[in-house]
Structure formats: structure tokens, C-alpha cells
């Protein structure tokens, strides 16, 4: 394993250009799972970001919360403003692993690890977050909802570093995040869903039920139309349009579809009386 230790973002970009497909490392909570057994990865080149103090921040601007790429779940869990203004960030962060993971795992790492089960990605997407990618040629900002192209395929080229996540500050009428795992704590999501509403504008983002975390446009349109649902089954048609759950080590397609419908129906019925 070759580890490179840049001191600035610009040095990190130089290294990403010079060492094609080098892997940026922040907290390591995904990259080092079962590490001793993964001999095939030991020869790869890693670019360790822990020296990039310029990415270790989160700040509130007039119209956004901006997370530097080294912002951890724990940084946000401890921010009272996030609890009040963007509560889904805190709700999801508190369900990622436990404190030992929350203190090390980063929001940016959750995005570029590109797991379909990523809870952090679901809530960021429900808040219309954008990501900033930087390389020697410059920077670009991409909506997170357009960032994933397929399973573990994303619009980050190997020379780009994700430097910032920007979450617009808006007032929402409804925030909902529901997650089902094998147990209440320390579980990777089998079915997850994040929902926000501003007036008639809904965001429904599902995780662990498609090759990527993704927005659900058919469900969003259904909810915008304001048509009442009589039960979870009324949502199944829209769910089938939007997601494609599979059988895997954590769950089955049928379970995922059924549970997603129930999470949405009962969650929305509790939050939003006009729904039923």
C-alpha cells in the first residue's frame, strides 16, 4: 500500500492526476473494513486527506449549510442549528453505525463510497444538496440527485476530489426519515426513505431499493397531486415505477417493496393528515 499525504487540496489534486485511480481516504470506516483479509487492495495507492485542514469545516451561510469534505456525522449531530433547521441530517447521522463510526465517517465519504444503502446520501438528496468536485482543471458543482449513474458509478472522474457539500437552507413543512435494518442499532439499511415537503413540492428519496440511492419522481408526483391513499397498497404501483429492489444478503425484493410502501404510508399518515 502506497500512502500519499498531501497538505493542501491543490496538492491532493496534483496527486490524483499523477496517480490514476488512487483512492482518497478520510475516516476509513468503509475502506478499511476487514482490511487484513483484503490482500488484493494492499498494493493500491491511497491519498490520505486527514492533513487537509481546509476541508475540516462546516459553516452556515445566508442561504446554505456547507460541509467540507472532512465533516463527520458527529460534527453535525453536535450542531444545534442542524437539529432545528435540517433535522433529517441529524436523524440519519445518529443511525449510521454508532458513535465510534459517527466520529470518523464523513458525509463526503458516504457519497463517494456510492453504496445504495447510504443513509447520509438519502437525507442530503431530500434536501437538494449539491456536491463540488475539484481537479487541476477547476471545479464543478453537481446536484446530488444527478450524481449517480448506476451501481457504484458516479459523475466523479478519478482525478476529481469531492471538496464540499452544499445544502440549501429552506423552510420545510415536513421532514421524514425512516430506516429499517436487522436491528435498531448498528445495522445497515434494508429499506430507507427520506421525505421532505415545501408546499406542493415533495422530495421522496429511497435507499437500499435500487442500484443507487435515488429520488422517486412517480411517488413525488403522486404526493403533489394530493390524491389520498387508502393503504400501503395504493403506493405500490408508484414504487414499482421508481425503484428496483433486489434479493441480496440483507433482504429480499418483496420484503423491500412491501416495507417501503408501509414506511411511506404510515409515516406520512402520522406527519400529514391530509394524506389519507
Amino acid at each position: 500500500m502506497n500512502v500519499l499525504l498531501p497538505g493542501t487540496v491543490s496538492e491532493a489534486c496534483d496527486l490524483l492526476a499523477a496517480y490514476y485511480q488512487a483512492i482518497p481516504v478520510a475516516g476509513g470506516t468503509d475502506l478499511f473494513v476487514h482490511w487484513p483479509a483484503r490482500a488484493e487492495d494492499h498494493g493500491r495507492t491511497f491519498i490520505d486527506l486527514s492533513g487537509l485542514d481546509e476541508l475540516r469545516f462546516h459553516r452556515w451561510t445566508d442561504d446554505a449549510l456547507v460541509l467540507g469534505a472532512l465533516t463527520t456525522y458527529w460534527d453535525i449531530i453536535g450542531d444545534p442549528r442542524a437539529v432545528n433547521e435540517l433535522p433529517l441530517l441529524v436523524r440519519a447521522a445518529r443511525q449510521v453505525g454508532a458513535i465510534q463510526i459517527q466520529t470518523r465517517g464523513t458525509w463526503a465519504g458516504n457519497i463517494v463510497n456510492a453504496s445504495p444503502a447510504a443513509d447520509g446520501v438519502a437525507v442530503l438528496m431530500a434536501y437538494d444538496a449539491t456536491v463540488t468536485l475539484q481537479c487541476l482543471e477547476g471545479t464543478e458543482e453537481i446536484p446530488l440527485s444527478e450524481f449517480y449513474l448506476g451501481y457504484k458509478v458516479m459523475r466523479r472522474s478519478p482525478v476529481q476530489l469531492l471538496t464540499e457539500i452544499r445544502i440549501p437552507k429552506r423552510s420545510y413543512d415536513l421532514h421524514m426519515f425512516e430506516k429499517v435494518g436487522a436491528r435498531a442499532a448498528q445495522a445497515i439499511t434494508k429499506v430507507g426513505v427520506a421525505v421532505t415537503r415545501r408546499g406542493e413540492e415533495w422530495r421522496v428519496v429511497a435507499n437500499s431499493v435500487a442500484p443507487t440511492v435515488r429520488r422517486c419522481p412517480t411517488l413525488e408526483a403522486f404526493l403533489s397531486d394530493g390524491e389520498p391513499a387508502r393503504g400501503p397498497d395504493d403506493l405500490v404501483g408508484a414504487i414499482r415505477e421508481d425503484v428496483s429492489p433486489i434479493d441480496d444478503i440483507r433482504s429480499t425484493a418483496r420484503y423491500r417493496e412491501t416495507v417501503l410502501a408501509r414506511l411511506l404510508y404510515f409515516g406520512l399518515r402520522a406527519e400529514c393528515p391530509s394524506f389519507t
Binding site: 500500500m1 478499511f32 482490511w35 454508532a98
Partner: protein, 174 residues
């Protein structure tokens, strides 16, 4: 190999490690501090919990080079004499989870304001125990926290003799 300097249980340490080496392995096999245990190796069980720059973390997921210039505390910084409340409540059976439990609890004790927003069970959710069913652990920690830092409040505090009394200094000498 990389030469890494950090502070371990209050004492400076210098180790020469391969970049692939985990902090867990550096502690156990290079520095012979075997209190920190390996359970799952994937950041789920918490047996390898250490305090890294003031926060609990799983040492099985930390490459040792990442602690360069940082502070690490392990269970060796805690005297066995201070663990009376955990013994009394049946918090320990096989003992494999106990070092991690103690390190997370030590952090909670130092930051007890966190109990305003988090339950003890949520804070301890990253320390899995296959023996006790958790009630003994939670009862022991609650009894000690409710002691409010009186004599029982010393239970998990670092030994009054300070880090000089820990095995870290003896074992980590280059």
C-alpha cells in the same frame, strides 16, 4: 515503512509501521497493549474502541499512520481498581467487550452533557456484548454516572498516579 509519532496514554510513542497496519495491530502486537480487543474487524462490535483525539473510535478501521501527531488513549490508562461498579452490576462475563465498553463509558463520563440529547443505550450501541444482555452494563454505568462524580465518579477516571503508572510507557519504549 513509515515512522509515526503520537501520544499514547499521555506518553510520546514512535513506531515504524507498514502503511497497511491497523492501529489495533500496532497497539496489540507492536506495543503489546493487549487490552484493546479485536472482535469483528469491521467497525461493528466496538471491542477495539480507543479514544482518538478525544473521541471514541474503532481502532480496527484506523490505519496507524492516521494517528501521527494525535492522541490515543487505550483501556490500559484505566486502573482495574476503578471498575468496581461494573463488576458489581454483572457488566462483565467473558470480558471480551469490556475494554471497549470502558473506553466508550470513559468518554461519556467526561462529556456527560451528551446525556441531555442521547440515552446511555444509544451511546453504548456501538459496543456489542454477547453475554450480559446489556442490562448489567447499563445498570452499572447508570449507577456510576448518578453518583455524580463523587467517590464512585472516580470509577473510570484515569488513575491518580497519571499516565506514568500505565503499561504504555513501559511497553512503548522504543
Amino acid at each position: 515503512m513509515m515512522e509515526i509519532s503520537f501520544t499514547l496514554n499521555g506518553e510520546p510513542v514512535v513506531v515504524s509501521v507498514d502503511p497497511t497496519e491497523r492501529l489495533l495491530d500496532t497497539l496489540r502486537y507492536r506495543l503489546r497493549l493487549t487490552g484493546t480487543k479485536e472482535g469483528c474487524g469491521e467497525g461493528e462490535c466496538g471491542a477495539c474502541t480507543v479514544i482518538f483525539d478525544g473521541l471514541p473510535a474503532n481502532s480496527c478501521l484506523i490505519p496507524t499512520y492516521q494517528v501521527r501527531g494525535c492522541e490515543v488513549e487505550t483501556v490500559e490508562s484505566v486502573s482495574p481498581d476503578e471498575l468496581g461498579a461494573l463488576h458489581a452490576s454483572g457488566a462483565t462475563q467473558c470480558g471480551a467487550c469490556t475494554p471497549g465498553v470502558v473506553m466508550t463509558a470513559l468518554w461519556v463520563w467526561r462529556h456527560s452533557e451528551i446525556l441531555g440529547t442521547h440515552s446511555l443505550r444509544e451511546l453504548m450501541a456501538g459496543n456489542l456484548c454477547r453475554c450480559t444482555g446489556y442490562d448489567g452494563i447499563i445498570d452499572g454505568l447508570e449507577a456510576w454516572l448518578e453518583g455524580g462524580g463523587g467517590q464512585s465518579g472516580e470509577m473510570l477516571a484515569s488513575s491518580s498516579e497519571g499516565p506514568q503508572s500505565t503499561s504504555a510507557r513501559r511497553k512503548a519504549a522504543p
